[in-house]
Subunit: 305 residues, 2 copies
């Protein structure tokens, strides 16, 4: 059996996705913990629909790989990875709601409000957000409460008005009043960038990174967030609904600005190349150990769905 | 100026409400913290609409009074109190949504989705939930990260599928399939009881209560939650919309079971009396210092709006 660290990122991504799926299945078990009240069946089913059986699990994977850079692995790291995924899934459930993006399809399956109903979807998103903080604050995630409190605070900053929720608000505003390039960058940094950056940062926090290393990983996380968004905009401009498992070409249809629309496809591809080069530069101090994270950057930039 | 501890609960409630209002106003300031991205104006306005300018602030007050029982007061305690209120306000915003209880009026003012729109209301609720965890996890709330992590975990348990969100799901289920008495009690323990209990518990956690004292305060919090719900059901059965500042007699109109409907008004009033007696018994070990918490129990049981 080859050493885990030497396997390619794409293989490790699938392994992490399996491990996170398994853990989410346990966290969303009908059988609650000792002393807990039995979980309402319909809400649990909706949360499972939202969180299980799909997704590349990119954010958990970034967390796992960043923690691995600092020699950290195991159940606690996976729990933090699952927490980040819960938060991501909550945002998808709410973004898909009729009052928001009104999407019927997600990961090739009906969205939660389609499979259940709107009220249940709102509550499932709410409870998935809560679960993310629950999992992070639990001693099972890390024995050191200072680490747990730091993770909770970081996730909250990535998620709230200054992060994902704020970015979704700007995205809704953008339909009424298209932003300029600075506005698009701010929107994207908040809506998708903040949680991707935190996913990387969380691995470094769990790995007890020193301040310089933490700063490098933060910048790496920002780069990944930017690359992810550019790749997403490219896909939105070019891919089909069938290949993506969700509606595409929606941004253009809604008149929302993207950097692809502003600068064109080839300039965007060039920008992606520059981001990968910057990721390599930022990770240089870590030497060969950072090979997987550089691969991850390439993977994100080149993704086809 | 009389000593704070000797003033009646009703006076202290108003003082705590003022202090919490002031702190929430600062937490929801348009000027973000250093290094933070500027906050989207529309989302911030909706969060302010939801969190400011109304409410008795009962939960914050219970937290402040419980902390005071253990000699704890000050900015950190107020921050935890404000966090609990943020979580409460988030739940009101989402419960009021058209897909949920579809209420137009709250605290005598238009609900958030009426004053803004549905998407903004969903996001405002989402971001208020996040803010609650943000505030609790921040070192400003308590210097000891173990205390902060414990508070976060407790709030998450009170809020998620095993708490408030789960209770709201059961409440929606109840419209289709009216629960029996055990079902009503479970629903109420989750929907309103869990957060009220946690508000008391959080004061004891901040106050470094020993396990026996913590257990007593937990039971006190359960009693307050039960009393609050019985008083609420009595009010729903008897009060007018004008006096309450929100729609009333809705439970009966929707065929939802309440303990008042099952047992009648006078039996419910008797049950409230028994709860107050139990609160006194539970707090006996604390002697005279618990006078304010006993007053709080009476206040909750007798409230007229």
């Amino acid at each position: 059996m080859p050493d885990f660290a030497t396997r390619p990122f794409a293989t490790r991504l699938v392994e992490t996705a399996d491990a996170v799926e398994h853990l989410l299945d346990r966290l969303l078990s009908p059988d609650p913990g000792e002393g807990e009240i039995a979980r309402p069946a319909r809400l649990l089913a909706a949360m499972r629909h939202a969180a299980l059986g799909g997704g590349k699990r990119l954010r958990p994977s970034l967390l796992v790989e960043t923690a691995a850079l600092f020699g950290r692995a195991g159940d606690g790291v996976l729990r933090a990875a699952a927490a980040v995924e819960c938060l991501h899934c909550y945002s998808l459930v709410h973004d898909d709601l009729p009052a928001m993006d009104d999407d019927d399809l997600r990961r090739g399956r009906p969205t939660v409000h389609k499979a259940f109903d709107e009220a249940t979807a709102i509550l499932a998103g709410d409870a998935l957000q809560t679960l993310a903080f629950d999992v992070l604050a639990d001693p099972l995630t890390d024995g050191d409460p200072a680490i747990r409190a730091t993770l909770v605070l970081g996730l909250a900053r990535a998620s709230g008005i200054g992060g994902m929720a704020g970015g979704q608000m700007l995205d809704l505003d953008a339909e009424r009043d298209p932003p300029d390039e600075a506005g698009i960058r701010r929107l994207q940094a908040m809506k998708t960038g903040a949680l991707i950056r935190f996913s990387c940062e969380a691995g470094a926090i769990l790995g007890r990174a020193d301040p310089a290393a933490l700063a490098a990983i933060r910048r790496y996380g920002e780069i990944i967030g930017l690359a992810f968004q550019l790749a997403d905009d490219l896909l939105d401009a070019t891919a089909t609904t069938e290949a993506m498992g969700k509606a595409t070409a929606k941004d253009a249809a809604r008149g929302k600005g993207t950097l692809v629309a502003l600068h064109g496809i080839s300039a965007t591809q060039k920008a992606l190349g520059e981001l990968i080069a910057e990721a390599e530069a930022v990770l240089k101090p870590f030497g060969d150990r950072s090979a997987t994270l550089i691969e991850a950057a390439r993977f994100v930039a080149a993704r086809q769905k």
